[in-house]
Amino acid sequence: MAKHSRLVRIIGRAILYLILIVGAIIAMTPFFWMISTSFMSLGETINRAWIPQTPQWGNYAEAWKQANFGVYFKNSVIITTVSLLGLMINSILAGYAFASIKFPGKNIIFAILLATMMVPESVTVLPSLLLVRGSIIPLPGVDSRAFDACVGAGGQVLACQFQNFTFGASWLNTLQALTIPFMANAFSIFLLRQFFQQMPSELYDAARIDGAGHLRYLFQIVLPISKAPIMTVLLFGFIGSWNSFMWPLLVTTRDVKRPIMVGLWNFVTEAGPQTHLLMAGAVITLIPILIVYFITQKQFTEGIATTGLKG
């Protein structure tokens, strides 16, 4: 009897591992497919080999050259770095204020910020675009009259945008348009607030007695022990900025200003049947994400578990 139940247990265990492995295979197959195809020759992609005979490293150089990935890559690195810097500073300050500072209207402001999480980008993107074009209010250093006159005279929108840019008359194709919208989001503030709230209040009282104000307490005591949630905000912010597509698609009209996702999409519409080059391009766009993910992975999952994201 005992032997029988042991056998059942082993089989049960084996089934569990089987499910997990099948899940992992399904999760990984598209990546395997992508990498394998990126090393194939054109003939192999048509005849659908599983693994390339001899890896065509040249595909990467070819894709890099054909699609201008060098420029896109550089743009994305700059955009992501600037956005992340802003996001970090803004979320830490706001998260701390919402967690530990008393001020009138705090809860209602926080609730309104949280409510913005449910609004789709497709709803907000149009007025934001007009704003960046300078059609709603005059922007610093910008005059939209040239653009309006151009369209008013029956010009094509894209042509006018382009002309407009050369006049420096809008924020299209500028770093501020590509970064500022990513410099704050309710999710990051929420995440940090949850963590900061769990700090024992004795800690603050003690700092207070030592004569430290809120800011010194935040930077000298709170931040050094908040690595996990900050990593989480960083990784999510990095993903959000690097992977962003709709907004950059709208606010960039010139190839040299485009970030990598828009560049990849352009490549998709141009590369046609050159699947192997397309996949090489897709792999290139993934690399920074993979590096950052594998480095921050541990702290990041810890961050999720410790910030009360669980409900």
Binding site: P120, V125, L131, I239, N243, K310
Partner: protein
């Protein structure tokens, strides 16, 4: 505050001063975030309302008042009937709820009333809906059904897979971290890049990965992302039309992508939730003789319900927000069978350059999401067990 009178005057002064200072610091610290979110998250909603009252192509044209809305909804009578239907539904809900608090006889009457209200709702809803699609913007309402299909296909599937994976991983599995890392990867990687890969895996070519798998199973190749026909019709050779025809194969393929991306995310969040259930509860239940399935159904499932509720809400909203992968995976041959509400709005202003009307669609979509979120909170929020 009561003992404020016991303070001497200067001390009170200093206290008020400090409180004002603290408040000012608070406002100062939240200012940058509030500005960014306010300008790019809140202001557009109000400005869209303003835009929706104009004939706004690229630049602002004439003021048109309700015109955009009547273009969208068609006959005003239809909208009124539809709104009345929603009111009936809310009433039915309240009657049904109050039926459980009074005595048996009244209970029965209340239940009958609720049932009748529900039937009336059904009639009003379908009358209103037919009026919308007949006299209003049929494409917009079609895009709402597509969105709904997409939610129904992805949300339950991804939550279920996420929970199963998390529950298994929680059973002292060797290599737990490695599995978790693999499962989470699809969520982390850029949607545009992975959607491009899916476009190739699910291409209609006979040598695409999906079709190779089918032919290994002895099945005919399919058109996948290029197939605008209803999957149910293809499967049973039936000829259904309208809502009951169900999603197209192209939409189902996109839903597969959705599940592939988010199941791992759900699993990671579930795993964090499972970790927070105290071990003693399990030990106590095991002493009482509970076994695996029992434990899961009577202990894990209720205790994990806040996580389920959170994930349900954000995934549901997520399906309404979904854009990037849909934009990348839609191909002309799939026709409008994969155009969700978000894509529809985007096309209205990006392709058709009709800004005023796009703003109108955006406002209507926003109201629908707000309503559905509110309803989910009301209906399910109470069932959640917070311990």
């Amino acid at each position: 505050m009561n003992d404020a009178t016991t303070f001497t005057q200067p001390k009170l002064h200093r206290q008020i001063n400090e409180r004002v200072k603290e408040s000012l610091l608070g406002y100062l610290l939240i200012l940058p975030s509030v500005l960014v979110i306010g300008v790019f998250g809140l202001f557009p909603i109000f400005y869209s309302i303003y835009m929706s009252t104009f004939n706004w192509r690229v630049t602002k044209g004439a003021f048109t008042g309700w015109e955009n809305y009547t273009k969208l909804f068609g006959e005003p009578r239809g909208l009124l009937i539809f709104a009345a239907g929603i009111v009936l539904l809310v009433l039915a809900f309240f009657f049904w709820k109050s039926a459980f608090t009074t005595n048996k006889k009244i209970q029965r009457i209340l239940k009958i009333v609720a049932a009748m209200l529900l039937i009336a709702f059904g009639v009003a809803f379908s009358t209103g809906w037919n009026s919308f699609t007949g006299t209003g913007d049929a494409n917009f309402f079609k895009s709402l059904t597509i969105t709904l299909y997409y939610s129904m296909l992805t949300v339950p599937t991804q939550l279920l897979i996420g929970l199963v994976l998390a529950y298994i991983l929680f059973q002292n599995i060797k290599g737990k971290e490695v599995f978790r890392m693999f499962y989470f990867l699809p969520y982390v990687t850029p949607a545009v890049s992975t959607a491009v890969v899916f476009r190739i895996i699910f291409s209609p070519r006979e040598t695409s990965l999906a079709n190779i798998l089918l032919s290994n199973l002895g099945l005919q190749p399919l058109d996948w992302l290029y197939e605008p026909n209803s999957f149910i019709n293809m499967l049973f050779g039936s000829n259904l039309e309208g809502f009951i025809a169900g999603p197209s194969l192209a939409l189902i393929t996109i839903a597969i992508y959705g599940v592939w991306t988010f199941a791992g995310y759900d699993a990671v969040i579930y795993l964090a939730g499972l970790g927070s259930i105290s071990k003693e509860i399990y030990e106590a239940a095991e002493i009482d003789g509970s076994n695996g399935w029992h434990l899961f159904w009577h202990i894990t499932f209720p205790l994990i319900s806040p996580v389920s509720f959170y994930l349900l809400l954000i995934s549901f909203i997520g399906t309404f927000k979904a854009f990037n992968h849909l934009y990348v995976m839609r191909v002309p041959s799939a026709q409008n069978s994969v155009i969700t509400a978000s894509l529809n709005i985007f096309d209205t202003f990006y392709k058709a350059n009709n800004f005023g009307y796009a703003a109108t669609q955006a406002i209507v979509l926003f109201i629908i999401i707000a309503g559905l979120t509110f309803a989910q909170n009301k209906l399910l929020g109470k069932k959640v067990f917070y311990g």
